[in-house]
């Protein structure tokens, strides 16, 4: 059942012209960033202090990909539940022999599938270097894993807020605010290494994501993203379950 919902939802994601527009803008901006990084690397190599192309260009490219996902995921997920609630289509799922977990996970895998597909397209660009130069594949894999775990977490956050609001703009604003709060949590920490500072540092999404783009496959960072995902998915399941208690 989860797969049936996911397949249907992903076909709707691909059907929406708005999503294709977001994807086009996303790829255009990433291409600009990639061009900028590469031309700087070639024209001013001294700036990069002898770092290889993977570290200097490709890691920066994947860092930018992650930043764009912060903006893009709420825009994609905002309509996935909120719009169905508003149009009444969600009653189809609520009256079908499905439980709340199946409904949420179907939509979750659809959004995640689309975004991973997008990540695989943008990954073609760095791999194209393999024709002309040697690459640090371990570092690239760490960057890709970092983007995947980031997506896994962001989609869970976006879907939860999509389940809370019937107005899509509220879903996108709130999920973006929460994502930004988590992303910049380290900035609340002071310069001293007190236990509170360490908590803020460990809560920071950007700190965990940066480890991957530095080429480190950190199990603590993976657990961080998975825990956040589990939390927001559990909240989403609870929200869908509680929809049966309210008239809408």
């Amino acid at each position: 059942m989860i797969l049936d919902i996911a397949k249907f939802e992903i076909s709707r994601v691909f059907r929406s012209p708005g999503n294709w527009l977001i994807v086009a803008i996303f790829q255009f901006l990433l291409a600009l960033i990639f061009y900028n990084l590469l031309s700087k690397y070639l024209s001013e190599p001294a700036l990069f202090e002898g770092r290889g192309i993977t570290d200097a260009v490709i890691a920066g490219y994947y860092r930018s990909t992650g930043l764009f996902f912060l903006l893009m995921v709420p825009l994609l997920t905002m309509r996935m539940i909120a719009e169905d609630i508003k149009t009444g289509a969600f009653k189809l799922l609520l009256s079908a022999p499905l439980n709340s977990f199946q409904i949420l996970m179907g939509k979750y895998f659809a959004a995640l599938g689309f975004l991973v597909f997008l990540l695989s397209i943008v990954s073609l660009v760095p791999f194209s270097f393999a024709i002309g130069t040697g690459l640090d594949y371990g570092h690239i894999m760490a960057c890709i894993v970092g983007n995947i775990v980031l997506l896994i977490c962001l989609v869970a956050i976006g879907l939860f807020f999509s389940s809370i609001f019937t107005q899509q703009y509220l879903a996108v604003i709130t999920s973006f605010m929460i994502i930004m709060l988590l992303w910049t949590a380290h900035s609340a920490a002071g310069s001293e290494s007190t236990s509170i500072d360490r908590i803020f540092y460990s809560l920071s999404m950007s700190n965990h994501f940066t480890r991957f783009t530095e080429g480190i496959l950190s199990s603590i960072s993976i657990i961080y993203f998975l825990l956040a995902t589990f939390f927001f998915l559990a909240m989403g399941v609870w929200k869908i379950h509680s929809m049966r208690s309210i008239d809408w």
Binding site: M1, R15, K91, S95, I246
Partner: protein, 243 residues
């Protein structure tokens, strides 16, 4: 068979439904008749499992809709007051999805879709995108999704609302056609529709059942109208829960 026992629904201190009990049998069309705001749609939502009752029990084929919801809902087809459509999809794509989520086995899905389309007069529009179709067609698509898995119980919330006279007649013919193999429960505020379609009429006023009688106990449509008016007068305006 569907059974509702002492179903109540409160919104804060306001009582929307009070001690609703009834049994719906196969081969029977049961009409819930009442004015707007009487609680009909709330009752349809509760018996379809999309809204929880504050108290009371709804069981479908002996499965409690609160404690065994997935199993209970597998016996149901539900058309809400607004058809639950994905308007960006083609009719065939939408119905295929409905068949899947209602658990129709893959080998029977094509037949189920064709049968539902044929019953609802949708053969000509299978490849059309739903948002480009008229309100009447959209209502028919909503009905097709409710019957696609041939459920024992079909719940229709004001199925003829927004339809033109011809479409209303077609909808009534379809409900009559569904009767032998299903139990059809529908809500309406149209006396004439209830009189011509139902085997049993349940009148709801202010969230309470005022009357539950077989249609053959009414002499004619005028008798039904008189009974409706007198029943409406017997009940007090919306009651307030003391809890």
């Amino acid at each position: 068979m569907m059974q509702a026992q002492e179903v109540c629904r409160y919104y804060g201190k306001q009582t929307v439904l009070k001690n609703i009990s009834f049994t719906a049998y196969k081969g029977e069309v049961m009409g819930f008749l009442g004015p707007n705001g009487a609680g009909k749609s709330t009752l349809m939502q509760i018996i379809s499992g999309t809204l929880a009752a504050s108290s009371g029990i709804v069981s479908i084929a002996e499965h409690n809709i609160q404690t065994d919801p997935v199993q209970a809902r597998s016996y149901l087809g539900y058309l809400p007051d607004r058809p639950p459509l994905y308007t960006d999809c083609e009719v065939d794509t939408y119905l295929e999805y409905c068949a899947k989520i209602h658990g129709v086995p893959a080998i029977y899905q094509t037949d189920a879709i064709e049968t539902a389309k044929q019953k609802c007069g949708l053969q000509e529009v299978g490849g059309r995108v739903i948002h480009g179709l008229s309100k009447g067609y959209q209502q028919r698509i909503g009905l097709a999704q409710a019957i696609i898995h041939s459920p024992e119980i079909i719940i229709l919330d004001e199925p003829s609302s927004g339809l033109d006279p011809n479409q209303m007649i077609e909808m009534r013919e379809l409900i009559t056609e569904l009767k032998p193999d299903h139990s059809v429960i529908f809500s309406t505020h149209l006396l004439s529709e209830a009189y011509h379609l139902c085997d049993r009429i349940v009148m709801i006023f202010n969230g309470e059942i005022a009357l539950d009688r077989p249609i053959n106990t009414f002499a004619n449509e005028a008798d039904l109208e008189d009974t409706y008016v007198s029943s409406a007068g017997k009940l007090q305006p919306a009651t307030v829960a003391t809890s």
